[in-house]
Structure formats: C-alpha cells, structure tokens
C-alpha cells in the first residue's frame, strides 16, 4: 500500500497530535490532554492517503432474543454500510463475539456475511467464540499462524498491530485474562521496536477497567500497558461492552466499539449487563462499526463511530 517515504519526521509528529472523532464529537489530544472540539461534520471526509481500517465487534451471530431478534440482519446492514464508505478500508478488525454460542452454523453465517465486505479480516475471539471445550471452532477458522490461544501481530503502513486474547482461562470472581505466556510474548514482540512506532492493540474485553462489578476489565492488563508505555502513540480497541467508551491515559487512547447485534446498559445503570431492549426505532442508532484512519501527513489517528442509523 502506502510507501515508507517521509518516515522519520512525520512519525515523530504523529505523537504530538491525535484527533479523535466519536459520533460527532471531535477530540483533540495534545500532550495527552483531551479537549473536546464540539460537534463536527467534516470528520467524515477522511483523506484518501494513509491507512484506514474498520473495527467491527460483537456480531453475536445466533442471537435472537427480544433485544434484537435479527442479529444476522443487522450484521448484514453493517457490512453493507462498509461498502458505501467513500474510502475503501485496508482491512477489517473484528474484536470478538463473532458468534453467540460458538455453533458451527453461526460461524458459517458470520463468515458468509462478513466475506461480503471483500476485505481481509483480523479476528480476536470473544468469550462467546470459545464455548466448545478445545476452542477448536474458532481456532480452525481464524487461528492460523497465531500463538497460544490466538494472539498475533502484524504491520501495516508502519503501524504495528497486536491482537490479544483475554477471554480464556478466566478465574472465578475475576476479569478478563491475558496470562503469563501471552504477556511474555507481548514483551518480546515489542522489543526492538522504536518508541515512535504507532501501536494499535485490539482485544475483546476492555484492557482498562470500565466497570469491575460487571467484569468489564482485564485482570493483568497493567502489565501489558507497562510494556506499551514507552511508545508515543498507542491505540487500544476493544469490544465486549456493546457501547462506545473512550479514555485517554498518557499516550494511550482506549476505545470500545458498538456491537452490530444489541446494545448493553451503561455501567451500573441496570441490575445486570444483559442485552438492552430499546424501542425498535432506536436500535440502529446504538449498533454500528468504527472507522479508524491513520494519516502520516495529517499526523492524526481518527476514530469515527458509525451507527447503522442516525
């Protein structure tokens, strides 16, 4: 894709400024301090150069409860929407819970629909994808070339992408879990990379504690973030909580995506984090995909959440 010309200077400048846009609100981050710039429309007009990729999450194929009796249909809508984007994304990242119950037919349906985007897809599993004892169904499909429970890394346009798995070997009373083996792998994976390399980490359960009472966090994420702290630009993309949450901590920006299947309540706003039934006409404003653009020349990493409607 894009060549590696104009490397050193722009890389450094990338660290100085990042621009965020989430459902109409533009956040500018300078020196680690986020400032809201108000409602914007132009953020949609992403420049053609640079790297654009999409995050899709929590498609829960097989879900048919009242919160959305047609989760397959809304996934299809999301994939169709991808086809209408002005700039074709380089690839898709799926942050897990591809299926609802890890059934072969659910994986088949998901594959068939997501393939219509005609894009490479980089997956990480959600806990709903690991329901068969050996986690064979997920791993046979998406685990080729990955380590351990399915973690891996790759590079695109000078950005280093790391897919982590935090939905295995969960302990009673605990949160998401990365485990020692994966953390050691991460430490090695990052070794030797210059601090100016932009990093994108993606995993299913948030790597920051959104709400401990509902298990919305990852037990040993602090160690992962410790390995990442020397990098000037780290973006963490998660799913699991079926709503947009953003947080900036030093050089690390956290973002959780909407589901394409059903919304969940805000932290502590309901007795439990189960599927949230909203009026039919409101559902599609709470489902969607996330568009991420990294542009060298513009020194920005923009994250735009695109609801299915509204």
């Amino acid at each position: 894709m894009t060549s590696h010309h104009d490397d050193g200077v722009s890389r450094r400048k990338i660290l100085e400024c990042m621009t965020w846009a989430g459902t109409g609100v533009l956040w500018t981050v300078a020196g680690g301090v986020p400032r809201s710039m108000g409602i914007i429309g132009e953020a949609q007009a992403a420049p053609a150069s640079g790297l654009t990729f999409l995050q899709i999450s929590d498609s829960h194929v097989g879900f048919d409860k009242p919160a959305n009796p047609n989760a397959i249909g809304t996934l299809e809508e999301a994939i169709k929407k991808i086809g209408t984007l002005p700039a074709k994304p380089a690839f898709l990242i799926h942050t897990g819970d591809v299926t609802h119950l890890s059934k072969p037919s659910e994986f088949d349906d998901a594959d068939r629909i997501i393939a219509q985007a005609r894009l490479d897809v980089h997956y990480v599993p959600g806990e709903h994808d690991f329901l068969d004892d050996e986690q064979k169904l997920y791993r046979d499909r998406y685990g080729r070339g990955t380590k351990g429970a399915g973690w891996y890394s790759f590079d695109a346009n000078g950005v280093h992408f790391i897919g982590l798995v935090n939905v295995f070997d969960l302990k009673a009373g605990g949160l998401g879990n990365l485990g020692n083996e994966q953390l050691e792998w991460l430490e090695n994976d990052l070794k030797g990379r210059t601090a100016s390399t932009p990093i994108v980490v993606f995993a299913h359960i948030p790597l920051w504690t959104v709400y401990q009472q509902w298990g919305w966090g990852t037990e040993d994420a602090a160690r992962a973030l410790d390995y990442l702290k020397r990098f000037g630009s780290v973006t963490v993309l998660n799913g699991h909580i079926h709503q947009i949450m953003q947080k900036v901590e030093g050089n690390v920006t956290f973002h959780t995506a909407m589901s394409t299947a059903f919304p969940q309540p805000g932290p502590g706003t309901a007795p439990a984090p189960g599927p949230l039934k909203v009026p039919d006409e409101k559902l599609r404003s709470l489902l969607g995909v996330t568009d991420v653009t990294f542009t060298r020349g513009q020194q920005r990493l923009a994250i735009i959440d695109k609801p299915l409607q509204g």
């Binding site: 709903h128 302990k171 605990g174 401990q212 439990a272």
Partner: protein, 126 residues
C-alpha cells in the same frame, strides 16, 4: 418407603432438563430420588441462591432463566456444564462433603457456592 436403586450414578443423566424424561426411558423406580433436591436459578447475571447447603448425595440442578448464555464451572474443575442458553439446565451430584465454589466461565464475576454436608448414615431417604 425405601426404593431399591443404584443411587446417584444413574441420576447423573446430564443435560436432561426434565427428570420425567429420564424416568420414562427406563426405570420408573428412580423417578422419586432422581428429582433434583436442590435448584439454583441463573437470572440477571446471578446465581440464586448464591450459596446452598445440601447433604452428600444431593443432585443440584442449575437452570438458566436469563436471556444470556451462561456456563457453570467448578473452581476446582470438578464439573463444568456445556453452555446453557435460555432455559438450559445442568445437574451435578455431590457425593463428598466439602465446600464447592463455582462460577460462570463466561462471566466470571458471577460466583456461587455449594456446601455439602455429610449425610447421616448411608440413608439417602428421609
């Protein structure tokens, strides 16, 4: 009153939600003892009751009444259900006294305990 049966082992017909079904298949005599002596309902991301105390030899049944799948897993790996979708059930017979912690392997913040007390003598009835 005492019914001749091969106790406990034949009760452990996993994933058969209706005890009636098990009884209908083969030995009608086991229908009475096979009924789960204790039930735990899963609803709103919680086990209810979260702590139960039973006698050794008791079959405990978990029923998922939630609109989210759950999976009952012993912390000591003694037992683990298949994934239970809405209305799915799982039972396990506790033969040895002790304290059995368990959790939902999908939502590990959901935890529960089965306390198994020694049964007095070998009499399962009464």
């Amino acid at each position: 009153m005492r019914i001749k049966m091969t106790p406990l082992t034949c009760v452990a017909v996993p994933f058969v939600a209706g005890i009636v079904v098990a009884a209908a298949i083969s030995f009608p005599v086991i229908s009475a003892p096979a009924a789960p002596d204790s039930k735990v309902e899963i609803d709103n991301f919680a086990f209810s009751p979260a702590r139960i105390t039973v006698k050794a030899g008791t079959t405990v049944a978990w029923l998922n009444a939630d609109d989210t799948p759950h999976r009952v897993a012993s912390s000591s790996k003694l037992f683990k259900s298949k994934v239970l979708d809405t209305d799915g059930s799982f039972s396990f017979t506790f033969t040895t006294p002790g304290m059995y912690e368990y959790f939902c392997s999908l939502h590990p913040y959901m935890t529960g305990t089965v306390v198994v007390e020694g049964s007095t003598g070998s009499s399962a009835g009464q």
